[in-house]
Symmetry: C2
Subunit: 442 residues, 2 copies
């Protein structure tokens, strides 16, 4: 019997498809043709049916869906470690805002490239980004071959990117036109938050998201200060403010949701709002701990995000999973809370569902897009293996990811990036780092 | 002028000595002769004075003291991921105890070797270990060239290691004799905890520690259950129980100290007790969060420990620092708590002081033992660099450590271990993992 040719064939000691049946295949394989998965199963079976034009065979490899980072500000990589351990307002007003005001499209482009290198090298294949100069973020993403949902952040005051607030709509409209048919980039509508956007702005953007059938991405109930401001200004909490404006629906990706009551959790679940859980940022900025266990019980779709590298300070989703699985145990004083499988689901299929792409990515199933990563399990900190899922959450690190495939294309092989010139990007960002240090000193 | 020959010369983009002056040297160097540091300073200066028989020159390197893990059970690496996300008693009684009862000296020896590989590869140069079959732990440590404080754990019931409780004293005595003059291994006296050791056992071991001038290492106030048991049995808290037995003194290394009141913190400080802070384990087992900020303010010497790989599930001190710096911010709702410098100090000079070795290790200063590591800073997640200390805590991972020197000897070069056969250890541990899975199934 002749073998069916496919573009890419992968084998590994483990294949963890993250499918609803929670399958674990020992000595497994995945066959990819074009940008789609055509077969997942035991290696013996797959190898007897398919021949790969390109192959990735890893004796000690674990093959799994690429991780999905549902909340980032990729370009903030240029601020990594610029200022830490400070009160939020001092951090923003003395460090971040003055430098953000002088950002340029080129800084954004290169900073995004840096973050993309980091994301790929730590196992992320898709992410959802909100920031300034989104056209330049998109330009960098298109170069990399990563999959992204991204948008230009809008608020009531002038933006370093598009100037007067009114220009923000045209800016977003241009993004929609430019990337209407892009296979990997989807444009989102991004009101910054309820304390920086008037009810009118929030609603205009709500209508835009509905018209475009796009995600409506917003920071929501991140900390007590936001709640207090909203109470003062509108007499209600951030969640109830959006509810009263008629803006809670299944297109909303609510970032953080640290300060939400049981009633609000029930409401978010009823409205089909998705939540991006960003625990490391919430810890570092002392915002609190989102009641994610309750959210999941209420049926809310929850994904995991790293937030920007200015407040984390990395975009390593393995580190984030490690923290997420542990923080809820101690927050609830229950060692069974947020178990390993639940955590990996949130970082894969959960993230896909948050982005409305659960039918396309987030698991290794026949017909889905081929977004997958391979980890090298033959390492001291991953030995022995009783339960691969436990290792992914409690022991693995981003650096354990050795291959990455996005949309059927090998984006990293043996930790070498194939689409980005890592050495050049690091050199350029070191130069830009010096520039930013100079801006601060002025 | 002729150059003075030394055994080892290192240069890097940054040298972070972690000295009391909080020096940071850009383009720095360290000269080592025998097992001691003979010079630390600007590379230009050092290179004009010394010639190294062996050299480590890293253009993008950061040279710093090796990390000190003040609480481990290294051999528990064989249980990594065997059981997670379970209530503590179910975890212990259904998984850990049944398998521990059937441990052998050879399993312990190889499991310890595995943990040593992992520790070296993630930047740890010294650790403090408490476990069963300590003679075999010591045998593995001696092979590796790592620096360790270690002891045989004692309690009121028979041990898989030495049998009847009474034999534990002779077992410990033999360790003291065997390693009396070892340059890298120090023996400790290790009562397990107040709920597993009678007052008589605790006191006999207290006398032994005093006679030997050894550390007295004990799990203390780890969780509410321990407190409840102690209250029931002795009418007081674990800390007060040790106080009433006259056992709190400057030789005591108290592991965990999660459940301590303000008064007890003041008492621990007065008595000179040292604390091993093991936050990731405390989170994973839902024990709580030790009030470390208060302890440091009270003047207690605090080090950082990973605990065993059964409850963490790794021994990566970089991951632990990341968690420690963030958890206290959210626990206290204060983003300035446990800043990066304080955290790195706890993992280096603090750890050294916990082990009574602050005069010998924990910082790079002339005359001190040469225990140091080199990180590769030329990586996406560590770019750009505004503040190297911030990166060590908020962005670096164990895998960023590329060289390790212990007692003047290069133990890892370019991530290759020089004293241990990593491939053989991984293969053997995979075999042992299969055995342990079999034990569980019986």
């Amino acid at each position: 019997m002749s073998l069916q040719p496919v573009d890419l064939l992968l084998t590994g000691k483990y294949v963890l498809p993250m499918d609803p049946a929670q399958t674990l295949i020992e000595n497994g394989a995945v066959a990819v043709n074009g940008n789609r998965i055509v077969a997942v199963g035991p290696a013996g079976d797959i190898l007897s049916r398919y021949r790969g034009a390109e192959t990735i065979f890893e004796e000690h490899g674990l093959i799994m869906p690429g991780l999905i980072n549902v909340h980032t500000h990729a370009a903030m990589a240029c601020f990594r470690g610029l200022a830490d351990d400070l009160p939020l307002m001092q951090w923003l007003q003395e460090y971040i805002f003055p430098v953000e005001a002088r950002l340029t499209p080129e800084i954004i482009y290169h900073s995004t490239l840096l973050s993309l290198c980091e994301m790929i090298k730590s196992g992320t294949t898709s992410f959802c980004d909100m920031y300034l100069f989104a056209a330049d973020v998109a330009r960098a993403v298109a170069t990399s071959g990563m999959r992204a949902w991204l948008g230009e952040v809008l608020y009531d005051f002038p933006s370093p990117s598009y100037g007067e607030p009114e220009n923000g709509f045209a800016c977003t409209e241009r993004l929609f036109q430019r990337y209407a048919d892009h296979p990997l980039i989807s444009i989102t509508v991004d009101p910054h938050a309820v304390y920086t956007c008037s009810p009118d702005l929030l609603q205009r953007l709500g209508r835009m998201a509905a018209e475009k059938n796009a995600l409506y991405v917003i920071h929501l109930a991140e900390n007590q200060e936001e709640v207090n401001t909203c109470l003062e200004r509108y007499g209600c909490s951030p969640v109830m403010h959006l509810e009263q404006l008629g803006l809670l629906n299944e297109r909303v990706v609510a970032d953080h949701c640290v300060m939400v009551s049981d009633e609000e959790i029930a409401l978010l679940a009823r409205r089909g709002v998705k939540v991006a859980h960003c625990q490391e940022s919430n810890m570092k900025l002392a915002s609190g701990t989102a009641p994610v266990v309750k959210m999941l019980r209420a049926g809310i779709t929850v994904g995991i995000g790293t937030d920007g590298s200015a407040s984390n300070n990395d975009v390593d989703m393995f580190g984030e999973m490690n923290t997420v699985a542990k923080i809820h145990k101690v927050a609830r004083m229950d060692p069974t809370a947020m178990d390993a499988a639940t955590t990996v689901r949130a970082a894969t299929s959960g993230g896909a569902a948050v982005l409305g792409a659960g039918h396309e990515i987030g698991s290794l199933e026949v017909g889905k897009k081929a977004d997958l990563i391979v980890l090298d399990m033959n390492q001291p900190h991953l030995t022995p293996v009783y339960n691969p899922v436990s290792h992914l959450v409690y022991a693995a690190r981003g650096a354990d990811v050795i291959h990455s495939v996005i949309d059927g294309r090998v984006i990293m092989r043996q930790r070498r990036l194939t689409t980005l010139d890592e050495a050049a990007i690091l050199a350029e960002m070191n130069r830009i780092g010096g520039e930013i240090r100079g801006l601060r000193a002025q």
